[in-house]
């Protein structure tokens, strides 16, 4: 096996974008185990001293859901017409929106949360990106389980029977990955700027809160423009509709948004790769 050669120069890596691209692909492929260990370290570290562990993760969205459910049940809030029970609607809304924001914030904070590591250990930037993805998959697995159990309890089989249900499940899982990718793409794109200026995170925090109310999380939104122009709304509506066997909502627009997020993710990964050696000490 030939020995690796590392070249660190003052000249910009962007001069050879193909080389950077190959390095990124190499990083993603070869840093899987590193990323897995990083994710495992974070997960174990986070729950090492907690008896209830992951249940706390579900507590916040379910509590919100319960409050809204009570408000609707009491007739205080009118969430609009919906094809599924409100409890299921709001649980989907909360857990999916949480997944999006968590993916966004974990990627956004990647420089700062990895500062100790980046300043002492040579690590492929892609390992950090993958570790966020693995962490999100881990967190999501419990949410998906909760959603599936509730869906089975509260909805009936689609006309296509079990096969249709499995197909919907497959599409749901793919869309779930798209939701994580969307959050990560935005977070990762902003991460280099957030490494230098924490104002970025504050602005993102300011946007995330009202965005929840412009997204069908707690109630339906009749205005189709709001849904079409809000990519998070597009993803959440479709995830909920597919999971509850109601088909797609504006599939063309959905695909366009997913494609856009895929491009943004590729660009953000490229920027992150370039940013690590320049900004790791400045985070």
């Amino acid at each position: 096996m030939s020995e690796p050669v590392y070249r660190y120069a003052a000249t910009s890596q962007s001069r050879h974008p193909a080389t950077v691209g190959r390095a990124i692909l190499h990083g993603f492929f070869h840093a899987r185990y590193t990323a897995y260990r990083l994710a495992l370290k974070d997960i174990k570290g986070a729950y090492a001293k907690s008896s209830l562990g992951l249940l706390w993760d579900l507590a916040d969205p379910l509590m919100f859901g319960a409050i809204f459910y009570t408000l609707v049940a009491a007739g205080i809030l009118h969430p609009g017409e919906m094809a599924i029970p409100y409890a299921l609607f709001v649980t989907y809304g909360m857990l999916l929106y949480l997944t999006f924001t968590e993916s966004l914030l974990a990627s956004l904070r990647l420089f700062r949360s990895s500062r100790g590591l980046l300043s002492h250990v040579k690590i492929a930037p892609e390992a950090l990106v993958l570790s966020v993805f693995f962490r999100m998959l881990f967190n999501s697995s419990f949410r998906i389980l909760v959603l599936l159990i509730l869906t089975l309890m509260m909805t009936s089989l689609p006309p296509s029977g079990i096969a249709g249900k499995l197909l919907d499940l497959g599409i749901f899982l793919l869309l779930f990955l798209a939701l994580i990718m969307a959050g990560m793409a935005i977070g990762l794109f902003l991460a280099p700027f957030n490494a230098l200026f924490t104002d970025v995170e504050r602005v993102v925090g300011l946007v995330i809160l009202p965005l929840r109310f412009a997204t069908p999380v707690f109630y339906t939104i009749a205005n189709t423009k709001v849904i079409l122009l809000n990519p998070v709304a597009m993803l959440i509506v479709n995830l909920r509709d597919v999971a509850t066997h109601q088909g797609f909502y504006a599939p063309g627009a959905l695909l366009a948004w997913i494609a856009l997020f895929a491009i943004l993710f590729a660009v953000a990964t490229y920027l992150f790769h370039l940013a690590v050696p320049v900004l790791s000490e400045r985070a």
Partner: protein, 427 residues
């Protein structure tokens, strides 16, 4: 054959101010993205942490990076490990690089030692099966068999360092970058680490070692690079380079020493007392009795060849003249010179106490000459504390002299620099 490490004209700059540090960070990042050349000059508030640094290393070479704090040693090491980007020049590293910049980097205190071994090894690029192959050896080397399943937060700093070092040196690197990490841990483990590094050297591993311990640098490395304020001052044979560096440090110490004010005495007290004074409490060099109640006009000179000096080359023959004026008749007078290292370590005394105790002496000037044929203290700063006693009581006791010993770059360990010759036989 290509060098395994090539550092060519490398420079790195940092900003002194946090705001501009971040601002320049954004500029540099955007230049990196849009392939614009980086600024070649210093911008406002910036300084060169490293300038025009070039050297090469062949497989199995070992290089010590020496210099004062802020010289640029760690910056260079970080760039060689790819942690930060050079602002000028190119670095090429051929082979697997393992850096020991912070032994606990990547450790999660809430996880067990075993889990952290897997984490640390994975950061170095090892797969699960590769880690499994070395894990027993790592635990054994770290001597943590009993604690390996306990959370790392329960470890002492020495135990953490042992674990970090054990992982790093068992990853089979081609190049090992070490940044002053062996200061922690007990002596036995430090020794084990050095023996392991010797073994790695013999196995062809190239070592770059940042150290403030000059003896360690000389023992571990064949070559040394002396950095000062980001500039290469000297590079070459480790002993010669360390000597040049020590000469420089001594010249600094000498300047600093000569700039110090002479030892001052406590203000005089007008009314003489008949009994010896009480010490005023413990100081760095023992009790101080500085009131000139019984003696006054205290003076002390260090002379070499009849010439008064405060800077003494090591092994010099020195005459020390110590004089004072007695204000009253004293019974059983003795004078002593206590030699302290600047940090308070007592190295030795010369005294009249055991041989020339004077039974009766009237008021008047007393002068005592001490001749020391070879002053063999190691290069450094020293203090003379001089008790003047009447029987068991102090008439006066305070610092009378500060001087420094220079060694022209002598590499000495311990408190004495023993003059010696040697002859080595091998059968």
């Amino acid at each position: 054959m290509d060098p395994i490490i090539s550092v060519d004209g490398v420079a790195k700059r940092y900003s002194r101010k946090a705001q501009s540090h971040r601002g320049y960070g954004l500029t540099d990042f955007l230049r990196e993205v849009f392939d614009r050349p980086q600024a070649t000059e210093l911008r406002k508030d910036e300084f060169w942490a490293l300038q025009e640094t070039s050297f090469t290393m062949a497989r199995g070479d070992s290089l010590a990076l020496i210099g004062r704090n802020g010289a640029g040693k760690s910056t260079l090491l970080k760039m060689m490990n790819g942690l930060t980007k050079p602002d000028q020049g190119v670095i090429e590293m051929r082979g697997r690089v393992q850096a020991l910049i912070n032994l606990g980097a990547g450790f999660n205190p809430a996880l067990t030692g075993m889990e952290n071994i897997y984490n640390a090894a994975s950061l170095a690029g090892l797969k699960h099966r590769d880690v499994r192959d070395i894990v027993d050896t790592v635990v054994e080397f770290a001597e943590l068999e009993d604690a390996i399943e306990s959370p790392v937060e329960t470890y002492s700093s020495g135990m953490k360092a042992r674990l970090g070092f054990a992982v790093a040196v068992h990853l089979k690197p081609d190049i090992l970058l070490i940044d002053e990490v062996l200061a922690v841990g007990d002596f036995a483990f430090q020794n084990k680490c050095f023996l392991r590094m010797e073994q790695l050297k013999q196995d062809g591993v190239t070592i770059v070692f940042v150290s403030h311990s000059h003896n360690t640098a000389i023992k571990l490395c064949e070559r040394a690079l002396w950095l000062h304020q980001g500039q290469v001052m000297a590079e070459g044979d480790a002993t010669a380079t360390v000597q040049r560096y020590l000469e420089y440090l001594e010249s600094l110490e000498e300047k600093k020493f000569l700039a110090q004010p002479a030892p001052t005495q406590a203000p005089k007290k007008s009314a003489p007392e008949e009994t010896p004074a009480e010490p005023k409490g413990e100081q760095l060099y023992g009790p101080v009795v500085s009131e000139e109640t019984h003696v006054t006009d205290i003076a002390c000179d260090v002379r070499i060849g009849g010439k008064t000096t405060d800077v003494v080359p090591v092994h010099s023959a020195v005459d020390i003249s110590f004089s004072f004026t007695l204000k009253r008749r004293v019974e059983g007078l003795s004078t002593t010179l206590n030699f302290f290292r600047e940090d308070g370590l007592l190295l030795g005394i010369v005294t009249t106490l055991y041989e020339k105790r004077i039974e009766h002496i009237h008021e008047g000037r007393v002068t005592c000459h001490f001749a020391i044929p070879h002053l063999d203290f190691a290069p450094g700063n020293y203090v003379i504390m001089a008790p003047i006693s009447e029987g068991q009581g102090y008439l006066w006791r305070d610092v009378v002299k500060r001087f420094c010993i220079t060694g022209s770059g002598t590499v000495a360990a311990g408190v004495l620099y023993l003059r010696h010759d040697f002859d080595l036989h091998h059968e």
